[in-house]
């Protein structure tokens, strides 16, 4: 029994992939997460130019949720390419690039650039809830924008493209259909959901950006429903992401229809080796339930 998962012509030893934005700044740190159980990794989202992100506090965790507004800090695409190359000198595990931009044309420019790096897949981040002051409403709420950006990135990309959608979009399954028809090879669902925390002593929002993206266990049932709905509507595979913290969460997400599983905030709740813990628990559940492979249960909750 193993967790081997085929995803768009690549084989992952485990379906757990590091979600974008957690720990994934450098080649060495991405490699470290594969030592801790990730079958593949997603780099922290990259823009054309370097960005320092929002002032602190940018992240805060509670018992059942985590909230962040880092503000998409990154060293810019040229420096990020060096880190992606470095990752591939350290391991041959699958690597997902991740990009964001302020216009559809800029998405095309950065897609072309990042494809010079040895990435296996390209994720389009159109759903970050924390930069609306700068970029306006996330593109992931707008069907026309999703269609245009997906098409433009597909034209420039030499690897399969996955579109990362927002759980704030009430019709996320319809948006996934638009992305699929525009040429997307996969869907990543979901990004964090927009939220807020107020510090009662400071009498103001805790995050310097005021609002942030909620992840962790509180996001899980929302993400699960989004994946379930999307699986009903599209043929392309889904990277189920959002609050997966335990092996049971992971198995549920596969039963809803996900192929790969993005894991991020679990690191806050269960430590740097959270990925390995989830792998072990998945195997335990498979043994107990007599499940021979993950393929056998993918989407089974729809029957």
């Amino acid at each position: 029994m193993n967790l081997k998962t085929a995803f768009l012509e690549k084989t992952f030893e485990s379906p757990i992939v590091l979600a974008s934005g957690i720990l994934g700044l450098t080649g060495a740190s991405l490699k470290n997460t594969t030592d801790n159980g990730c079958g593949g990794v997603t780099v922290k989202s990259v823009s054309i130019n370097p960005r320092p992100g929002h002032p602190n506090p940018t992240m805060v965790g509670f018992d059942h949720f985590f909230i962040n507004a880092v503000g998409l800090s990154n060293p810019g695409v040229e420096k990020a390419i060096e880190e992606l190359r470095k990752f591939k000198t350290l391991t041959d595990k699958p690597l997902i690039g991740s990009i964001f931009a302020s216009t559809p044309d800029e998405f095309a420019v950065i897609a072309e650039k990042i494809c010079k790096a040895p990435i296996d897949f390209l994720e389009i981040d159109i759903s970050c809830p924390n930069v609306s002051k700068e970029f306006g409403t996330p593109f992931a709420y707008d069907k026309k924008a999703v269609e245009l950006i997906t098409k433009k990135v597909k034209e420039k990309s030499n690897v399969p493209v996955t579109v990362k959608l927002s759980p704030n979009a009430w019709d996320i399954d319809e948006i996934a259909v638009i992305a699929e028809s525009a040429g997307a090879d996969a869907i990543t669902a979901v990004n964090t959901i927009s939220g807020m925390v107020i510090d009662v002593s400071a009498k103001r929002p805790t995050l310097s950006n005021k609002q942030g993206g909620v992840s962790g266990p509180a996001l899980f049932p929302i993400a699960l429903k989004c994946v379930y709905d999307i699986y009903n509507k599209v043929q392309i595979p889904i990277i189920g992401t959002g609050g997966i913290t335990t092996g049971e969460d992971a198995i549920q997400m596969i039963m809803a229809g996900a192929t790969l599983l993005g894991v991020g905030s679990a690191v806050y709740f269960r430590g740097q080796d959270a990925f390995q813990k989830i792998n072990t628990e998945m195997i335990e559940i498979m043994e107990k339930e007599g499940i021979k492979s993950l393929d056998e249960i993918r989407g089974i909750a729809h029957k």
Partner: protein, 270 residues
């Protein structure tokens, strides 16, 4: 982790650019660990713990940016947000011969370590002792001379760049006398400018002496999630598996003494 908002209990001006802020709160930190200090509406940054007893702690802070400038304008009774303690700590073993090498405000966490050792019930009984080396630009910037001189079994060695107090030159130059006499019970601990720390690591490797080094990297979250403070080599977070690392781990950190990353993640050479 949620911040608690604590009033400043006492402020001591150590010199023109350094103040120690005291708080009445049982922090239960270990020497070398850090806290995050938040001034709402300004910023939140990591600071090492410079003083601690059963029910209070102190932070020795160098004025260097918007957050610390704001903090330096604050008065006793004003509140700041504190979360932590976070990170790894220095070994506390009353049988060891510590050689503590402090550069600038790196004297704060090492002072806290020295006091913690001196409060240990077995200090004075065993073979434990401290040689404390403080380096500073000039005599006005030498920290904690009075505080350190009160600690039993502690020899204070001072070096200043201009020779206005103690030895004239780098603190690492007076280290060789001590390292020549080092044995299995010697532990060199250091906190200060990275190039100084790197030189000490090289000496420890050459002479095969154990050491513990406090490594500073740009931090955002402080608890091992954002990945801002990852280091090349092992790819681990310095907020979680540092700031204090032993010789073996320090040797794996390939960027140590060479470069670090800024808040965008761009490489900045030392």
């Amino acid at each position: 982790m949620k911040s608690i908002h604590l009033p400043i209990k006492k402020i001591i001006e150590e010199n023109s650019n350094i103040k120690t802020f005291y708080f009445d709160h049982e922090l239960n930190a270990k020497p070398g660990q850090f806290i995050m200090l938040w001034i709402p509406g300004v910023d939140q940054k990591p600071f090492s713990i410079g003083y601690q007893d059963k029910d209070s702690f102190g932070l020795t802070i160098f004025k260097r940016g918007p957050l610390t400038e704001k903090l330096f304008e604050m008065n006793v009774g004003d509140r700041v947000g504190i979360s932590g303690p976070y990170g790894t700590n220095f070994t506390v073993n009353p049988d060891l011969h510590y050689v503590m090498v402090a550069g600038g405000y790196g004297a704060a966490p090492l002072g806290c370590l020295a006091e913690t050792l001196s409060c240990h019930p077995d200090w004075n009984k065993g073979s434990g002792k401290i040689d404390f080396l403080v380096g500073a630009k000039n005599k006005d910037l030498v920290l904690f001379e009075e505080r350190l001189s009160k600690i039993p079994n502690l020899n204070l060695h001072i070096a200043t760049d201009d020779g206005s107090k103690g030895y004239k030159g780098y603190v690492t130059n007076i280290l060789s006398d001590l390292t020549n006499k080092a044995d299995k019970k010697t532990l060199i601990v250091t906190c200060g400018p990275e190039l100084m720390e790197k030189k000490i690591l090289d000496i420890c490797n050459e002479k095969n002496i154990d050491c513990e080094i406090s490594i500073e990297r740009y931090m955002k979250c402080g608890f091992g999630v954002c990945g801002q403070c990852v280091v090349d080599g092992p790819g681990i977070c310095m907020c979680k598996e540092g700031p204090v690392v032993n010789r073996e781990l320090a040797n794996k950190i390939t960027e140590f003494g060479k470069y670090h990353r800024n808040k965008s993640g761009q490489i900045v050479n030392l």
